[in-house]
Symmetry: C2
Subunit: 355 residues, 2 copies
């Protein structure tokens, strides 16, 4: 039975990408060698790495603007640390919009003074703080564009004179933004880009090299840039599949085209959450709702078993909310078709009819 | 045409493993979902991680001896840093047997006093230093069991009263050793274990928690242990393929059985290098020769083109030496069949006949 995969990450990838990935594991480039058994220094893989880096910049509109794209290991969690190691000399400003922002803050505060400019921890992160002030004397400002767990998303970003760093792990390549507002963007691959095991870092080179501490080689963005993202053996398969997904996005019209579909999917689901008397959204203000992760609750606990049976029977996967929020979370990343959202909406309406 | 893959890493993996890996990318566990699109917190993947950790300890004979196995990101290069972060309080002793040892030393020396107890840098690392002294007041002793680039291998390890740390990236699971002599073993997967993108760390828990510095979460072995190697999203595909390779090793009789074959392969090739008047081994002393990576040179430069044409025509891949050594390097990891070594020997003899 066909699955409708609403998993929060690792998550659905385009089926054409999965086909090509599987086939490269058997025989890559018709060389009678698997993708995963050739040297990362061989021409075919160097080409993959270069193409992936180029496509990432292209999709963000950041070619020839002083940015470099890197595919590193360690996940977004290692970036929490690397950002501070490379940029935090005296103090930094962080906006705390959820679990991942909090973790980024936890790692960074050992490197200097931490200014939490805003936080929605008081309401279990069910809203995005507004009207906060960012001091002008900090080394950088850090925010999380989409809060995977709580289902909130920043709809606008402040104008700042200091470097702006953003964790875009769960909404990169999902909507058009002026990405040149950001000086460092990072994203674990395992949402809109590829399988777990590689992290995209896009950094404006001019912000680097300004801290006085010693930076270990593996944590130093300048080292990775100087080696074209091959300082050590990269995660070959995750990088290759990320390249395939970025190619797929290009063939499908790029970020602008996918944003149109993402808007349709989000509208379809949120309309049903609002209309259907059995369900209620988790996020306090509609304008803070994430188009990637919709969090919602059943108003009557007694219907849980019936609802769970229905969506499981419909082939839906990965709908349970994160333990820190409870309820349900429907993740609607780029590769999820509108049709899958329709299946979920049908199930919600079926529950209403039966109830 | 069938390839004979002598690549130094990423390198050959068992063909049955590649088949299973490709099929899991299409449909894992008959769930109609790809391995790379399910949550790493889902039962099927948690089982994979647990099985991989268990098999690693089993193959090393380290079950129920106070060791934990972790599958981390960042490659062996990140371990150069993590070892020092977690263990180096005042001073450490390192044996310098090649490029990788030198890099480990470079990262560690920022954390305390560095005592290089021995080095073969004076002869481009073509031998293993002997009779060196390890001070008893260091925090640990670090060595590299197999020097991938130069083709030397430690045949014995010192008896020390302090913790012993070993980079086994290029010969783990290739030979029987008393692994309980070691307190921390690490190995990038991309030789005898799996694809690039995951690193095995096997650590005796009692050596941890003794340094006074703050350790960032992602670099703290205790944090990874406390989360069963799932502190953040692991490299799902590389861990899965590593598990498959460890299963394959078990089905094929384990480390002892593979060692017998590895010995045969090495004997076959080194005998030919020694016998054939056109070739000469790079390593100074025969007892230091690596059974994983055989480095050798053509004595007459004029034969290079002919030799390269011959081995390429025979389907041999990855035979060029590393730029810091030149000549040729035949990597004969666990998954390389004896038959492939025979093909190479045949080509060497053909060259001799033609010359
Ligand atoms: C917004 C965000 N940041 C960071 C992370 C952590 O990523 P990783 O597990 O790759 O370290 C996640 C994971 O879901 C995330 O959603
Ligand atoms: C012995 C040894 N140590 C360390 C490394 C570095 O590994 P990585 O590229 O995974 O960081 C290698 C890579 O070939 C190696 O052979
Ligand atoms: Mg969050
Ligand atoms: Mg409602
Ligand atoms: Mg070496
Ligand atoms: Mg000879």
């Amino acid at each position: 039975m066909k699955k409708h995969n609403f998993s929060a990450g690792p998550c659905i990838l385009p089926s054409s990408v999965l086909e090509k990935a599987a086939s490269a594991v058997r025989n890559f480039n018709d060389d009678n060698l698997s993708l995963i058994e050739i040297s990362h220094r061989s021409k075919p893989f160097v080409n993959v790495m270069e193409r992936a880096r180029e496509l990432a910049l292209e999709h963000l509109g950041l070619q020839n603007k002083g940015y470099k794209a890197l595919f590193l290991q360690g996940g977004a969690s290692l970036e929490f640390l690397m950002v501070a190691y490379n940029l935090l000399e005296k103090k930094a400003a962080y906006l705390n919009t959820g679990t991942w922002s909090s973790k980024a803050i936890k790692e960074a505060k050992h490197f200097g003074e931490m200014i939490e400019v805003g936080s929605s921890a008081d309401a279990n992160f069910n809203y995005i703080p507004k009207n906060y002030n960012i001091p002008t004397d900090v080394d950088y400002f850090h925010c999380t564009s989409n809060n995977t767990i709580f289902g909130t998303q920043l709809q606008s970003f402040p104008d700042v004179s200091i470097p702006m760093v953003c964790d875009m792990s769960s909404d990169i390549f999902s909507r058009v933004l002026d990405f040149s507002k950001f000086d460092l963007i990072y994203a674990g691959a395992q949402k809109n880009m590829g399988p777990a095991g590689t992290t995209l870092v896009v950094v404006k080179e001019e912000i680097l090299g300004k801290v006085t501490r010693h930076i270990p080689s593996m944590l130093d963005y300048k080292v990775h840039i100087s080696k074209d993202s091959m300082f050590n053996t990269p995660a070959v398969f995750p990088v290759y599949v990320s390249m395939l997904t970025l190619e797929w996005l290009k063939e499908n019209g790029g970020v602008a085209a996918i944003e149109t579909i993402n808007n349709k999917k989000a509208a379809l689901l949120y309309n049903e959450i609002d209309r259907n008397p059995l369900f209620k959204g988790f996020v306090a203000n509609k304008e803070d709702r994430s188009k990637m992760n919709a969090t919602f609750n059943l108003l009557e606990d007694g219907l849980k078993e019936q609802f769970d049976t229905l969506w499981n029977a419909a082939g839906i996967n990965g709908l349970n909310g994160h333990r820190s929020v409870g309820g349900y979370r429907a993740s609607m990343y780029n590769a999820l078709p509108l049709e899958s959202v329709q299946v979920l909406v049908d199930v919600m309406q079926e529950l209403e009819k039966n109830a």
